[in-house]
Symmetry: C2
Subunit: 339 residues, 2 copies
C-alpha cells in the first residue's frame, strides 16, 4: 500500500495527496476529506523514510531550548509539542545548554535530519553576549527552512529568510507593573534580574521606562543582577540591606527571584506587602508556594507557544505570516502587593 | 561521499563502519578511532534517510511522557535528552496526556518512525486503572525494540521482549521516613497522595510498611487522596481538621502536596515542625520555596535518567542488561522536620 494507491482510491493526483499529508492549506476541505478517508480505508501508514526521500518531509519540527528543566521552558515545550501533535507533526527536542557552539551544532543536526521547521524556545538564543555574528547560524538556517523564535526576536525581513518571532510584550508589562507601584507611592523600587537574554533586557527597559515616565531617577544600585536561584536573589537583597539602602518594592524578572525576595523579607521580619511589595514574573507554580502568595506577571506561555506552532503550520502549508507576533501579558494580583 | 568511501578509507568492512555509527560496543577502540578519523577526513555526514533505509537506524530514541510540564518529568526529560545526546542519539519527544488511547497511538507513531528504542518516562504508564490488557501495547512494542521504563516497572522476563525498568526505591524511602517520624514520637501521621501510578502506590505501601513494623494501626481516614495541586492537598487536610481528627505529621507523595500542608498549617497558626512535621517527595525546587523549607525525599531523577539511557545504549550496542535496576533515594533534611 503506498501513496499511488491512495491517489487512485481518492481520485486525486499524487501531489494532492502529498499536500494533504503535509498539512498544506491549498487543498479544499472536500478534497482533504476524500484523501483522508482513502488513507483510512486503505490503512495506509506513510513510511517515514520513503516520505523523507520522496516527499521531502518527515513531518517533524525541531525544538531547540537551552534548558528543558527550567519551569518556563518546560511549559513552553509542553504546549509546543501538544500543538504540533494536533497538526500531526512530531517534535524532535534538542537542549543546547548555554554554550554557543552547542547551539550551532544542534541547529546543524536538525538541518541534517531534514526537519520541516525549527522552533527556538526561549529568549536565551538572543542575548547580549552572542557577539556581532552570533545570529548568523539562525539566519543561515532560516534560508533553508522556516524558523520561529518563541520569546526572542530577530528581524525577519531579510532576503530569502523565513524567520518569525512570537513573543510576549514583556517591556510593556514590566513598565505597567512598575507604574502601578509608583502610583501607590513606592519610590525605592529594586529591579532584580539574572540573565541578559532578549526578554530579560526587554523587561529591564520596561522598568526604566516607568521610572522615566514618572520623572524618577534610575539608580544603578537598584538594578540588581544575581544568579538565577532563590539564594542569589536573597543574597543580592541582603547586600543592599546591609549597605543601608532603603527599598520598599521589588520587581523580579522571574518568580524564582521573587521567592528569594519573600524569603529575604521573612528573615528580617519585614512585612509583605505593607513594608515591601513584591512582583514576580511568569506566573508559575512558584507564585502559589510562598506565604504571602506572589503577585506575578503572566507572560502567557500557552498562548505564545500555541501561536508559534500555528504560524509555523501556516508557513509550512505554503501560506504567509507576519514576521512578528506580539501577545500582551497580564498582571495576576495576589498578596505581595497592596493594589 | 558515502559509507563505502569511509569503509575504503578506514580499511574496514561496511558492517564495521555501521557498527561504529550505531555506537555498537563490539568494536575495538583502535578500529573505532580509525573509522572516526576517516569520517572526519572525508567530512562524511551520514544522511539520515539513507541511513534509515540502509542501516535501519535513525540514531533516535523516542521519549514518551504523560506531561512534560510536570516538574519531575521535565527534569527527567532534561537528563534523558542530555545523556542521549552524549551518545549521539536524538530524542523524539511525545507527550501522551493521561488518555490510554493516546499512549497507544504515540507508541505506534514512534514505531512507525523506526526509532532505535523507546523510553517511557514516569510511572504514570504503569497504573492501577490500566486494566488487565493495559500493558499489552508496551509488551508488544518491546518485542520490536528495546523499551526502558523510568520510574515504572514491568516484568521484563518474557520471551523475545527487551523490556527494562530503572527506578527509585520509593517504597523503602517512604518506609524509612515514616519510621523516623514514629521513632520521634509521632503517632497520627497523615499520608497524602494524588495518583494511582506505580510509584505512587509503591510509596503508599512504604507508609503502611512503617506503620505495620511499629505495630501501629493504618487508619483509612489518614490515607488522604487529593487532586495533584496545592489547593487539593490543603483542602484534604482542612477536611480532616474540621472533623476533629488529630494529626501531628504529614508525608506527601509529592512536594506540591507538601506545600499545601505548609499552607494549611500557616492558615491555622499550627507551628511547623513543633506541632506538625511535614515531609515532601521529589526534592524539587518547590522544597526551597516554602517557609519553613521542606524536608523532602530525593528520588534521584538525574541518576535514574542517566542510568536508563546508559542501559539502553548498552542494549542497542548488542550488549545485555538486567531487566531491573533500582536506585536508593535520599532524605534531604530541612526545616519541616525536627530530626
Amino acid at each position: 500500500m503506498n501513496i499511488y494507491d491512495v491517489s487512485k482510491k481518492a481520485g486525486v493526483s499524487i501531489a494532492t495527496v502529498s499536500r494533504v499529508l503535509n498539512g498544506n492549506a491549498n487543498v479544499s476541505e472536500k478534497t482533504r476529506e476524500r484523501v483522508l478517508s482513502a488513507i483510512k480505508e486503505l490503512d495506509y501508514t506513510p513510511n517515514v523514510f520513503a516520505r523523507g526521500l520522496g516527499l521531502n518531509t518527515m513531518k517533524a519540527v525541531g525544538i531547540m531550548c537551552t534548558d528543558s528543566s527550567d519551569i518556563y521552558l518546560a511549559n513552553a515545550i509542553y504546549y509546543l509539542e501538544r500543538e504540533l501533535r494536533r497538526f500531526n507533526y512530531n517534535a524532535i527536542l534538542c537542549c543546547t545548554g548555554n554554550d554557543a557552539g552547542a547551539r550551532k551544532s544542534c541547529m546543524q543536526l536538525l538541518l541534517d535530519k531534514r526537519v520541516d521547521g525549527i522552533i527556538l524556545a526561549g529568549s536565551q538564543f538572543i542575548c547580549r553576549d552572542a557577539g556581532v555574528d552570533g545570529y548568523d547560524y539562525i539566519i543561515e538556517a532560516a534560508r533553508e527552512l522556516p524558523i520561529v523564535l518563541v520569546n526572542g526576536r530577530l528581524d525577519g525581513n531579510r532576503d530569502g529568510c523565513r524567520l518569525y518571532s512570537v513573543l510576549c510584550a514583556d517591556r510593556e508589562a514590566v513598565c505597567s507593573a512598575a507604574s502601578q507601584l509608583i502610583e501607590a507611592g513606592r519610590r525605592n523600587i529594586v529591579y532584580l534580574y539574572s540573565g541578559t537574554s532578549y526578554s530579560s533586557l526587554n523587561k529591564l527597559d520596561g522598568f526604566t521606562d516607568a521610572m522615566n515616565q514618572a520623572g524618577l531617577p534610575v539608580r544603578p544600585e537598584y538594578l540588581r543582577q544575581c544568579t538565577r536561584d532563590i539564594a542569589g536573589a536573597r543574597g543580592s537583597l541582603e547586600a543592599l540591606y546591609s549597605s543601608r539602602m532603603p527599598f520598599d518594592a521589588v520587581i523580579a524578572s522571574d518568580d524564582m527571584l521573587a521567592v528569594g525576595a519573600v524569603k529575604f523579607a521573612f528573615a528580617h521580619g519585614i512585612r509583605v506587602p505593607d513594608d515591601l511589595e513584591i512582583i514576580g514574573y511568569n506566573n508559575s507554580v512558584l507564585a502559589n508556594c510562598t506565604e504571602p502568595e506572589l503577585t506575578s506577571i503572566d507572560n502567557r506561555v500557552e498562548l505564545v507557544s500555541t501561536r508559534a506552532v500555528r504560524l509555523l503550520i501556516q508557513v509550512l502549508g505554503g501560506g504567509s505570516a507576519p514576521p512578528l507576533d506580539i501577545v500582551a501579558a497580564e498582571l495576576i494580583k495576589r498578596n505581595t502587593t497592596k493594589f
